[in-house]
Amino acid sequence: MENHFIAISESVKNGDHEQTINRVKEALNRGTPALELLQKGLVPGIQALGALFKEGQVFLPEILISVRAMNRGLEVLRPSLADAEVPKRGTVVLGTVEGDLHDIGKNLVRMMLEGNGYAVVDLGVDVKPKVFFTAAREHKADIVALSTLLTTTMPCFQKVIAALEEGGIRGTLKVMVGGAPVSRAFADEIGAEGFAEDCVRAVEEANRLLTGRKEMAR
């Protein structure tokens, strides 16, 4: 990898947004294509941080400042990316289910998915099943990601899945769930293909689910 890509990745990984901006600007001025700076500089920085998070070497504050650094770098790139075909890993429709107003975990998942190349449609909190269905259909979602903090609203996951089935699009996408009381066993029980314990593992799980989809489609 060229040095300036490595340097940008490092500045993202270190959460240094000013350095990220400067390095992205320098690389752009040297004529490096914006898309390459995104894919070989900014994104690997966030991915490296995800690995460190899983190993317990970094924590949420480091994730937040790195996502901020990446976003600042992306703002510099955005005018040059306007005409480029930025490939997306997939589209995720995300929200906290009806009856629950918690949004911290969901917001972290959104940030990490976006940082890792996903298009995310964030429906917010207290989202009705029909709204998930409508958004998933409209945006041709690859994944519907559902969050809750409460045991009382865990059954809403099944209602969303039922709405996707009734709408005839269940087979076209994957459902991923998460939240404090949620487990892999519960995900299996309700027929959700994906489960993640935190924002970093949510990206891994989304990658796994979409890899599976591509294999199924072949």
Partner: protein, 395 residues
């Protein structure tokens, strides 16, 4: 089982009463919505008639044979259990902010609570769990300097007006007395919001140090004054500083920002004879417990199972260094009696026998737990301790 005297509580904490079941009212706690559901399912109507958080002799506690551990809520030095909507979670800022509704629709009301936070809550279940936080009173150094004016440790409202009479009343009680001693992460999050706080830990550590020093000084003065009169048996921090897989900040930040201030407080408490120092934190605590132990804190609740806390493993790892509370998986109570029994039998006999354990569900009992299942849980716990079941109740 005898009533929970100071001596019995301290003996359990000091591992001197193996097998003794103490179901503390302060750890076995319920959402109001839970009690409403239970009354619909046949529980006594008086479940709804009492503000049981503060009524330590309530009939609700008596119904489940819960024993009072008395929080000194009248001293505004820390967390206040109660309505998020009506009271806010912290009772540190004095005067309180004037509560008011910002806007509302059919389902949701947005309001400013007495802690100065702007919150959104569902009208149908205003007190169930945390609200959605929309805005916070501290945003930068200028707003912190304003907020700090409400943290005067010598504010006359911080202690009951007739302190001597209050102290005499408390000292006349048999039950153990517990003093809130604040928080070094939880309150900062209450004042700033989680994301702004996590950014500020990197971007403005000087501000964070000042906020924590202010808390440390406030608590030092409050503890000194409270214990100049009341014989406190235990102290409680509140942090809620972990999520499902671990702490919200790194051990390095914990050591840098929190540990030195914890030591000031825990050393002060120990110098005054209080060696039971409790922390309430949700989430996965496995990385935090050794840090808290090093900070002088030795009692952990609620040990949420869904976040990977295992009280049996913790007891094996820390022995008599860690007093444990909670860790009965609330999700088991949503299932069958067999599952509840399995959950109890897999951990409670061992924990009771090794001592220093206070059984409870691993957080507030949620509204989807059937009344019958909670009664079954209590009776199963009593069976483990060789006690008769609760008297049968029919409305």
């Amino acid at each position: 089982m005898s009533s929970l005297t100071k001596e019995r509580f301290l003996d359990i904490c000091h591992y001197k009463r193996p097998g003794d079941l103490c179901l503390c009212a302060g750890f076995n706690v319920f959402y109001y919505q839970t009690l409403k559901e239970w009354v619909k399912q046949g529980a006594p109507d008086y479940f709804l008639a009492e503000t049981f958080y503060r009524n330590f002799e309530s009939r609700l506690n008596a119904f489940f044979a819960l024993e009072p551990l008395r929080w000194l809520y009248e001293v505004y030095s820390g967390l206040a259990y109660g309505s998020w909507v009506g009271k806010g979670s912290a009772r540190l800022n004095l005067p309180f902010f004037e509560p008011r509704i910002v806007c509302e629709d059919e389902r949701i009301v947005t309001r400013i609570n007495p802690s100065g936070q702007t919150i959104r809550v569902l009208k149908e279940s205003p007190d169930y769990s945390m609200p959605m936080f929309v805005d916070w009173p501290v945003k930068d150094r200028a707003s912190w300097e304003e907020y700090k004016k409400r943290l005067d440790p010598r504010s006359p409202q911080r202690f009951p007006a007739d302190w001597k009479a209050y102290a005499a009343r408390m000292n006349a009680k048999d039950e153990p007395l517990l003093l809130n001693v604040g928080s070094f992460f939880g309150f900062l999050r209450e004042w700033m919001g989680l994301e702004p706080l996590l950014f500020a830990l990197h971007d403005d550590p000087v501000l964070i140090e000042d906020m924590m020093d202010t808390l440390c000084e406030l608590e030092t003065i409050c503890i000194t004054r409270a214990m100049d009169g009341v014989r406190v048996d235990a102290a409680m921090f509140w942090e809620d500083m972990a999520f499902k897989t671990g702490p919200l900040i790194s051990p390095k930040m914990f050591r840098q920002f929190m540990m030195p201030r914890y030591r000031v407080i825990t050393d002060l408490l120990r110098s005054k004879g209080v060696d039971i120092i409790f922390v309430d934190s949700d989430g996965g605590l496995n990385q935090l417990i050794p840090l808290w132990l090093e900070s002088g804190i030795n009692f952990f609740w609620p040990l949420e199972c869904a976040a990977g806390n295992d009280a049996v493993e913790l007891r094996k790892k820390y022995g008599h260094d860690a007093i444990l509370g909670g860790n009965i998986d609330k999700r088991a109570l949503l299932k069958s009696k067999d599952v509840i029994r399995q959950e109890v039998m897999s951990k409670v006999p061992y924990l009771l026998e090794t001592g220093g354990y206070f059984p409870s569900v691993d957080h507030f009992v949620p509204p989807d737990v059937p009344f019958e299942n909670f009664v079954y849980l209590i009776n199963t716990l009593r069976e483990v301790a060789g006690l008769p079941p609760l008297p049968e109740y029919r409305r």
